[in-house]
Symmetry: C2
Subunit: 130 residues, 2 copies
DNA sequence: CTTTAAATTAGGAATAATTCCTAATTTTGG
DNA sequence: CCAAAATTAGGAATTATTCCTAATTTAAAG
């Protein structure tokens, strides 16, 4: 891996400027809008590389295509399983995990990258009642 | 929704007997093995219904197709993003959330169904070093 | 600055997972 | 038993993502 290319750089720029948790498709369009020529396969390939490098994070969605987020600051996500809405929250894993006996146990098995909370948001709950 | 059908019942049975976090494809095969005739679209449709009813839980995977788990007891999951291995752990959201200020905040926005921890397991970590 | 090797790209084909469609069958409730 | 509602099978369609290859870009060495 050379670890440099115009396209890879453009994707990372887009991710830095965009805190909207875009899908691969959206990233593709955002890069095109900017200036840069890019193909969709290049977007997917580089997204995966950037995830591996730990520059961006993949958000596994229940509804719709997966989303991505730039790691601008330590934070976690709560995702509505009905509508896909994403809430950022600043639950610092590193700080909190020390206090939690169970998380300590997990860390023997796995090197934690992220915690995602899945649930149903207020809007979807009230829609259901109607 | 009538809330009953042989096929829906068979899927739920398979999920009860199987604590292996099967994919939709695997559920399909398990139902066929048992006895029951079923089509793949029926499997997918009923899986979604059972998720909605809160009988089973969807595990959004980073690698490979999504998996499902019967809600036999309150537990959460840690998933390796490289190989897809799943660790069950008995972190009781309900007990723990009371003690955590930040989780309380989230609960104002979202009705928590599950917490999934994503990371890299020991095996994958050591493979990477080789 | 060339030259060469390695990495990356575009673009489309291929694959994989899931949803959608419709006519036939099953289930429910009176 | 009958009619209405729900569900099914089976395949087509769709969606998201990965894979393939020849051409281009980047890096590194002389």
């Amino acid at each position: 891996m050379n670890n440099y290319s115009k396209q890879r750089e453009a994707i990372l720029d887009v991710m830095k400027e965009n805190r909207t948790h875009p899908t691969a498709e959206e990233i593709y369009k955002l890069v095109l809008e900017k200036e840069s020529q890019i193909s969709k396969s290049t977007v997917y390939r580089n997204i995966n590389i950037l995830v591996d490098l730990g520059k961006i994070r993949k958000l596994n969605m229940t509804v719709g295509p997966d989303r991505y987020d730039y790691l601008y600051k330590e934070h976690s996500h709560a995702i509505c399983e009905k509508c896909g809405k994403i809430f950022d929250f600043y639950y610092d894993i590193d700080k909190d995990k020390i206090s939690n006996e169970l998380l300590k146990q997990i860390e023997k098995n796995i090197d934690i990258n992220s915690i995602i909370i899945y649930g149903i948001c207020e809007d979807c709950k009230s829609k259901n009642k109607e």
